[in-house]
Subunit: 186 residues, 2 copies
DNA sequence: ATTTTATTTTGATATTTATCAAATTAGATA
DNA sequence: TATCTAATTTGATAAATATCAAAATAAAAT
């Protein structure tokens, strides 16, 4: 089971009516109207819940003459909660984690005591460093070139290269009034 | 753990952010801002989630100089989902179930083939029967005495007693225009 | 004492969703 | 085929809630 499947399962369990349905089905198979009567809900509402439960594989249904009987899929409920929580992440999450790990690795190999040991030659690595240094600037605020130099000089003597590459990587922009952060997201 | 505690726990698990928090805390204890950074959420949001998780006993916190560290309460996650689902119901639910069981017992011993075998002598039992017969009347509609008689006669020859006791139990009311159901709730 | 930093609370908002009534579909019996 | 009955879908509504920004607390360092 993947992480998002576990989430979907928990969402299903996070409802009183659905828990009651599961508890009822744990005792014996039942059809929609029987459940509606037991829980004091309408048939459409029970149907709605059973659909959700079916979608996550918690229940299954079979026909017996008049009725559509619903039954519990017990296997789904065997694992402990901990097992579900620790499901490994989906592909997207995994990639994000890998990215973050790489970022940390680059940061720790080029930064020390809050200073930049050297400016990475690889563009990809320098980009990561620059993104980190960018945090020293407030979003929206406009800085003079002198202010930018002072801030960057805190990290490395060659603040000119840093300043130029900030512009080159489009992390900052400039005009006659000064420099400012580029903030894309949101 | 009671049924409603299990429900509260599942509600907590039914959120992506909280699952990620738990997964993070499963690796190591963390403080609010660290989690906010990892999940790309604001500190207030993390705080909000941690409060919920604390309330259900999923995490606990302790102070270490600067920070409030949060830690997983692993015991909570050991049981299988099935164990939680089958928690016995709360006191209120249990009482409701007992009441319903008693009602069914009375109904089945005095009713047969949709007819009333006899009118219960015990007031408590008759009340249950009358409440059941009341369902034959539409809420809001006004019936003539003759109509009431016809409906009640379907259940027992002594429809006069039934009609009188409907009034006596305040299940129906009457005035010069006729009879009607008393519907309290909603 | 003052300032800084971490955390929580408050207020507002947008999204999700459980529920029902009414309408529709599907199956089985007559 | 026609007619029940069970089940689902649709549309509407009310309640819950995840999130953020801003304000308020708390706690530590200067």
């Amino acid at each position: 089971m993947t992480e998002s499947e576990a989430l979907a399962l928990f969402k299903c369990l996070a409802d009183k009516s659905r828990l009651q349905i599961l508890k009822s089905l744990a005792m014996e198979d039942m059809y929609v109207e029987r459940l509606a009567e037991r829980l004091n809900l309408t048939a459409p509402t029970i149907s709605f819940h059973l659909k959700k439960l079916t979608d996550v594989g918690a229940v299954r249904s079979y026909k017996t003459q008049y009725y559509t009987m619903y039954a519990l899929c017990s296997e789904v409920f065997r694992p402990s909660i901990m097992e579900l929580i620790q499901e490994k992440s989906d592909e997207a999450d995994l990639q994000a984690q890998r990215d973050e790990a790489y970022r940390q690795k680059v940061l720790s190999s080029f930064m020390q005591y809050g200073k930049l040991k050297s400016i990475p030659a690889q563009k990809k690595k320098e980009r990561i460093i620059l993104e980190e240094l960018l945090k020293a600037f407030e979003p929206g605020r406009i800085y003079t070139e002198r202010e930018v130099n002072i801030i960057l000089a805190d990290y490395h003597d060659d603040f000119c290269t840093l300043r130029r590459d900030m512009i080159g990587e489009h992390l900052m922009e400039r005009d006659k009034n000064g420099y400012w952060r580029v903030d894309e997201q949101k």
